[in-house]
């Protein structure tokens, strides 16, 4: 018997016992003592070490590959290339939509053509990393170097070098026969844009360019693969989705998923970048060719930068018009984003978010997905939305300035509410945009005078608001009752932000037991039901929901068992706060702990299950208030004060919600000020190290103040909205608006590094 829940019942205005508290995370002790097992820690008997040969060119035909000398080196056990992929079907789908097999495999091991510097071509397994590295230098690859295309405008140019001879532009959802670097052009339209602008008293139009940036997770990608003698494959890896890895390895190698077991190791950061699969299929192939020995591959930092997916550079024009009273009447965006080597930039998501915070009658959004000679982009926290917000939130700021209206007031005046239609179609359910803006306006940061300069520079304040829609998708969870009154919770979402705790808290709340009595663990793909990626801000929402279901299933079985023991009707028994009792006979009551001790003598173990694919997704809004100091002689920007306000629906574990808010803010600040892939003209990244790819250090940041707003999501039993992503959407724009306020420079390029600010001041 499984319990049912009322899908639209909102409980978050209720007092909770566990939800909303801040218990210690279950993985904390192992992590602070160094005992947590990450992929690079794994040591297996007979382990071999793999390394990948990568393209030195941004765009080239591969004429030939000669492995003779490498294979002759002592200690080399196997080499693999694209030729080792078996014959298979034409499309691949590993849980995130179809893509052409040659594109999917091409990004694992390139065949015939390389499309970015750092693209994998071949891999070697050897007795040590050093031998494997030496072997790479003995592989002789002949290239025919081609001209490279490095930005979306370059890729869209009429005479641009073409990356794929089999890529034909999809125009307004129709497949054309035009072979170009534009994989897709789409448009969202609402109202009449010309009429809208005709009714505007003030119109602002600007064009923005942003650089390619990386997620910058501290742990490099890693994998150990064993292709067993009986053709079962075991993969240990750092991933945001063990089932995604299983599916991707299955698709790449044409091996059924039932033959593949993926064990997710602890993960040292992902931010979207550890969804895609890179070296895993090659490691499995090497294992097979080396005589069924386990093969471990760990990327260097340069490989992570050059060989894995960053988030795209973009070229965007945004035009908005408003009346003198501050009503925004028209908004137009033209968004071109770099897909990298293969189609699939996040321009679609950017278009879903660009004007979503506002209720605007007349909107047109054009999106272009453009392939360029850079690594294939991967997800990075609200992919596409920060680029779009960098443009739109600066244009709004300029309108506020021109109309002499407070920038938060202008946003509030036009804020989207329940029932507002998005230009891409959906109508907003209950959202917290207004509540977030009001909390910002009332915050003592916004009410205080500008923070004084620390180093004699100019100070300024900026604000911004961003949206992320969040996703649902499939999650599974099992809960087994232990006979000491605790439960084991098994789930499939790899934990990158404290989700083991928030998922366990769902179960504890349902069962009325303490959080400490729930022992959560992330299982391998053989041990739990299918669970989609840890991404899209879905984990606490969907896997938490699966735990809620599994706990309710356990609860129903406990009630049945107590009724059986007492010889009463189960409908007359209830369980509250961890105690089972008869509704009619006060003599009949028993704690969960006492019942758990009797299970094996009264009918056997109790195991609950939860499996969900929920639809009641709640999007999240997040805003920032930032004070900066800019040195007008050097362009150096310091963040003096930073406040972030986000709608969490219901914060299951407020500390981890705040952690997400602070983390997204910090990544947004880094992106705003210094981070970029700095390319040479021929398409080489010149800064593939943390020395010259400048992420902020703790010395570059103030304490990030957080305010959690809770506008319950009616689509989740506890009102949860995902909180992992909306917080990175508009810090960049808020910083840009603060720089404008400090020194008068309107920044149309990101990063807004010192040289860029000086150039703007000199122009």
């Amino acid at each position: 018997m499984t319990t049912t829940y009322e899908p639209n019942k909102v409980l978050s205005n209720k007092e909770f016992k566990v939800v909303g508290t801040r218990p210690v995370r279950p993985d904390g002790a192992d992590k602070v003592t160094g005992r947590a097992q990450y992929g690079a820690d794994l040591q297996l008997t007979g382990l071999l070490y793999g390394k990948t040969l990568r393209s030195p060119h941004a765009h080239a035909n591969i004429k030939s590959i000669d492995f003779k000398k490498a294979l002759a080196l002592e200690g080399v056990k196997a080499v693999v290339s694209a030729k080792d992929f078996p014959e298979t079907k034409d499309t691949a789908n590993y849980g995130l939509g179809d893509s052409p097999m040659n594109y999917f495999r091409g990004n694992i091991l390139a065949d015939k053509k390389v499309l970015y510097k750092g693209q994998a071509i071949a891999a070697v397994a050897a007795s040590s990393v050093h031998v494997a590295e030496a072997a790479l230098s003995l592989i002789d690859v002949k290239y025919e170097v081609l001209d490279a295309v490095l930005t979306a405008p370059e890729g869209m140019a009429k005479d641009a070098p073409i990356l794929h001879d089999d890529l034909f532009t999809k125009e307004f959802e129709k497949q054309t026969k035009v072979n170009s670097n534009i994989a897709e052009h789409f448009q969202h339209k609402m109202g009449d844009i010309d009429e809208g602008f005709a009714g505007a008293d003030v119109i602002v139009e600007r064009t923005f360019d942003t650089a390619t940036v990386h997620q910058g997770y501290i742990e490099p990608h890693n994998v150990t693969a064993l292709w067993n003698d009986d053709d079962r494959i075991h993969v240990w890896t750092s991933t945001q989705g063990a089932f995604t890895v299983r599916a991707a390895v299955s698709e790449a190698l044409a091996v059924p998923v039932s033959k593949i077991k993926v064990t997710p190791m602890e993960i040292g950061g992902g931010f979207g970048g550890k969804i895609n699969v890179y070296e895993d299929p090659a490691a499995a192939l090497l294992s097979k060719k080396a005589g069924h020995k386990p093969v471990k591959m760990v990327m260097t930092r340069a490989e992570v930068f050059e060989g894995t997916g960053p988030t795209p550079g973009s070229h965007m024009t945004v035009k908005m018009g408003a009346t003198n009273e501050g009503k925004i009447v028209a908004a137009q965006a033209n968004l071109a984003m770099e897909a990298g080597a293969y189609p699939g930039s996040p321009v679609g998501a950017g278009a879903m978010c660009v004007f979503t915070a506002y209720d605007i009658a007349n909107v047109t959004i054009d999106g272009y997905d453009v392939v360029v000679n850079k690594p294939k982009t991967a997800a990075y926290r609200a992919p596409g939305a920060p680029n779009a917000a960098f443009a739109a939130e600066q244009v709004i700021d300029e309108i506020a300035e021109k109309l002499n209206i407070d920038p938060l007031e202008l946003r509030l005046q036009n804020a989207a509410k329940e029932g507002t239609r998005r230009a891409d179609g959906p109508i907003h359910p209950r959202i917290g945009c207004v509540e977030v803006l009001e909390a910002m306006k009332e915050h003592h940061h916004y009410q205080s005078p500008l923070t004084p300069a620390k180093n004699g520079g100019k100070v300024g304040r900026g604000v911004g608001i961003g949206f992320w829609f969040n996703i649902g998708m499939q999650s599974a969870c099992n809960i087994s009752v232990n006979n000491d009154g605790t439960v084991n919770l098994v789930e499939g979402s790899t934990d990158i932000g404290g989700s083991r705790a928030s998922i366990a808290m769902h179960a504890a709340e349902v069962l009325g037991i303490s959080y400490e009595d729930v022992k959560p663990q992330v299982a391998d793909t053989d041990s739990v039901g299918y669970t989609a990626i840890t991404g899209g801000s879905r984990t606490t929402f969907a896997t938490g929901w699966a735990a809620y279901e599994a706990a309710n299933d356990v609860k129903a079985q406990l009630i049945d068992r107590a009724a059986t023991i007492w010889g009463v009707d189960p409908d007359s028994v209830e369980m509250e706060e961890g105690v089972l009792r008869s509704k009619t006979d006060t003599e009949l009551n028993m704690s969960f702990k006492d019942l758990s001790a009797q299970l094996n003598d009264t009918g056997g173990p109790i195991v609950g299950r939860g499996a969900v694919d929920p639809s009641g997704i709640g999007g999240s809004f997040c805003g920032q208030i930032v004070d900066v100091e800019v040195d007008p002689e050097t362009g150096k920007t310091d963040i003096l004060r930073f406040t972030v306000v986000q709608d969490a629906g219901k914060a299951i574990h407020p500390s981890y919600v705040e952690g997400q808010m602070q983390g997204g803010s910090v990544q947004g600040i880094g992106w705003a000020l210094n981070e970029e892939y700095y390319y040479s003209e021929d398409g080489r990244m010149n800064n593939p190290t943390f020395l010259d790819y400048r992420m902020p250090t703790s010395l570059d940041l103030p304490m990030i103040d957080t305010v959690i707003v809770e506008v319950a999501n009616p689509g989740h039993p506890y009102g949860v909205r995902g909180v992992g992503e909306a917080n990175i959407v508009s810090p960049q724009a808020a910083v840009a608006n603060a720089i404008k306020s400090a020194v008068g420079a309107r920044m149309e390029k990101m990063p807004m590094n010192p040289a860029a600010i000086m150039e703007q001041l000199w122009s």
């Binding site: 362009g635 210094n674 010149n686 902020p696």
Partner: protein, 290 residues
């Protein structure tokens, strides 16, 4: 994959004979904060690493008002700035020693290593030049002393002959009215490489500048001694106008490149800003000395 000899000589003579044996296939190891990183990055194919940290002369650190300062080539930054007498007498060198890397790096990194690494962005070299430092070098043909500004010949290259070793750096004792300063510009607040840097010193006498030196980092193939910028101040008052004129000369002398750390225009501009700001601080410090 090849193995490397690690050798730990205890005398300068022993080190010199090892360098004669391995020639360009050996490098001297001090703190290793550059060398080890570069070896892992494949910059050198070495047969031997010669550890200088066990040679007495490379570990000396002596200071007196009469004889000035002698810094052994392997002495780590933290020992230098940990000595209060040295710290107060050599403000420009202190600026450099306290900003190279982070605290952990300063426990290992040496000024001698910074000089021999000969990076255009070296943070210690402009300050050493500003302080009139001299490098003491030993080779098979004996000992020689060379002004620091004559050591670097290109990115990662020095005027030392194959087989020579830097033993120490001598810095004259500052007189009354001396002030120095090193500042660099980085986009972040720590743990970064100079986009541009300026090391300067002034010697004040009766309210006028008796001598001044200006050196720049990260704006030329080597740390750049801008002799005319310092000379332009000699005999003049340390006024805003005179300092600005010297800063403009520094800007003119710079020949930077555009790269991921900055553009030509931005770096030349920074030379003016940094030289001006550094000279003002050096003058303030010189006045405090009076």
């Amino acid at each position: 994959m090849n193995s490397i000899d690690y050798i730990r000589p205890t005398t300068v003579d022993e080190a010199v004979s090892l360098l004669a044996k391995y020639k360009e296939k050996a490098r001297v190891l001090a703190g290793g904060t550059d060398l080890i990183v570069q070896m892992r990055g494949g910059r050198y194919q070495l047969d031997a690493v010669i550890d200088g940290k066990h040679i007495e002369e490379l570990n000396q650190l002596t200071y007196s008002k009469e004889n000035g300062l002698v810094i052994g080539a392997a002495v780590p930054c933290h020992k230098i700035y940990g000595d209060e007498n040295i710290a107060s007498a050599y403000p420009g060198i202190m600026d450099s020693a306290t900003l190279i890397g982070g605290i952990q790096i300063q426990g290992r990194a040496s000024l001698g290593g910074n000089l021999m690494n000969a990076a255009p962005s070296a943070d210690a070299i402009p300050a050493l030049i500003a302080h009139n430092a001299v490098a003491n070098i030993v080779g098979a043909n004996g000992t020689r002393s060379v002004p620091v500004e004559d050591i670097c010949s290109g990115p990662g290259r020095t005027t030392l002959d194959t087989g020579e070793i830097l033993v120490s750096i001598s810095v004259p004792a500052p007189s009354k009215g001396f002030g120095a300063r090193y500042i660099r510009f980085i986009p972040r607040n720590e743990m970064d490489i100079a986009v541009a840097g300026a090391g300067v010193s002034v010697q004040l006498k009766n309210g006028k500048i008796e001598a001044a030196r200006v050196a720049l980092s990260s704006v030329a193939p080597t740390p750049l001694f801008v002799e005319n910028a310092g000379n332009s101040l000699v005999g003049k008052e340390p006024s805003d106008e005179n300092i600005q004129a010297a800063a403009n000369l520094a800007k003119e002398a710079a020949t930077p490149i555009t790269d991921m750390r900055g553009t030509v225009e931005f770096r030349k501009h920074l030379c003016e800003v940094l030289t001006r700001r550094a000279l003002h601080t050096a003058v303030e410090r010189a006045r405090e000395e009076n």
